[in-house]
């Protein structure tokens, strides 16, 4: 199979997932504002959990769990994006 541009792009993106454990764990803008102004207590816990906060229940190694969760999400989204595009592309294009 001939390599296309997007094979390379996808490889780089999957590599980005390996960097995910290095991401800053500081609160984001909204979390910071909520903490500073005392409305963070209003957060409701999610009704169900699959991979909450990019972690995987049963994998104690946080670094590994984050990388795996990232890879799962990335592959899932490539599939959704690609699939949606295949489904929706203009069929009358010549």
């Amino acid at each position: 199979m001939k390599l296309k541009w997007w094979h390379g792009a996808l490889a780089i993106i999957l590599f980005l997932c390996i960097l995910a454990p290095l991401a800053s764990s500081l609160p984001d803008g909204l979390e910071r504002v909520a903490e500073d102004h005392g409305f963070d207590s209003k957060i409701h816990d999610p009704t169900f959990r699959i991979f909450p906060d990019y972690s995987i229940t049963g994998i104690d190694n946080e670094v590994l769990a984050t990388i795996l969760a990232g890879l799962i999400g990335t592959i899932l989204l490539f599939g959704i994006g690609f699939g949606l595009a295949k489904l929706l592309k203009n069929k009358h294009e010549t």
């Binding site: 541009w5 980005l16 995910a20 984001d28 803008g29 957060i43 994006g81 203009n90």
Partner: protein, 212 residues
Amino acid sequence: MHIPDGFIDVPVAVTTFVVTVGAIACAVKTTNHNLGEKQVPMMGVLAAFIFAAQMLNFPVVGGTSGHFLGAALAAILLGPWTAVLIMSSVLVVQCLVFQDGGLLALGANILNMGIISVFVSYYIYKGIYTLLKGNKAARLIGAGIGAWFSVVASATACAIEIAISGTSPWEIAIPAMTGIHIFVGIGESLITVAVLSLVLVTRPDLLELQVA
């Protein structure tokens, strides 16, 4: 700036859901009409890239972090309506699979980060590109400025929803949210310009495919 459940009330949640569903329906219709075969892998790659890049929080000022949004990049590369579909896909997966952003707040999160951000950045990009007679530098300048505004507009919309819901007063929510995202927006600009430069250098033909 993914809103968790508890920050917006039911009327705001319902209103934003209705607006979002309408916009997604329009996005499906427009994409169905405009998207060509050659753009199929681009849509998959962008969805994957935006998800992966959104995990990579970078520190900004005052013990706060921010992350790439990707709305401007998607809008520039594939047009605003297809970008709405890409951003919605990312936000739905983040919400349902990773519990990043509340279920009740999903409509608001898509509206802020996947619709408002897309159109704000797209029209700023297009305006600057046209104004500067459309050369390569114009694309990059337009992308950088558009990307910055996409984050600031998104954060302001988020603050407005929180204020309407009575979670935090207007005079606190809006300056605080907009203020911090002025800095997060700089990161957005840099990443958007860097990725767009890479595309312009390696595969400029992918950009020419873009349908207005």
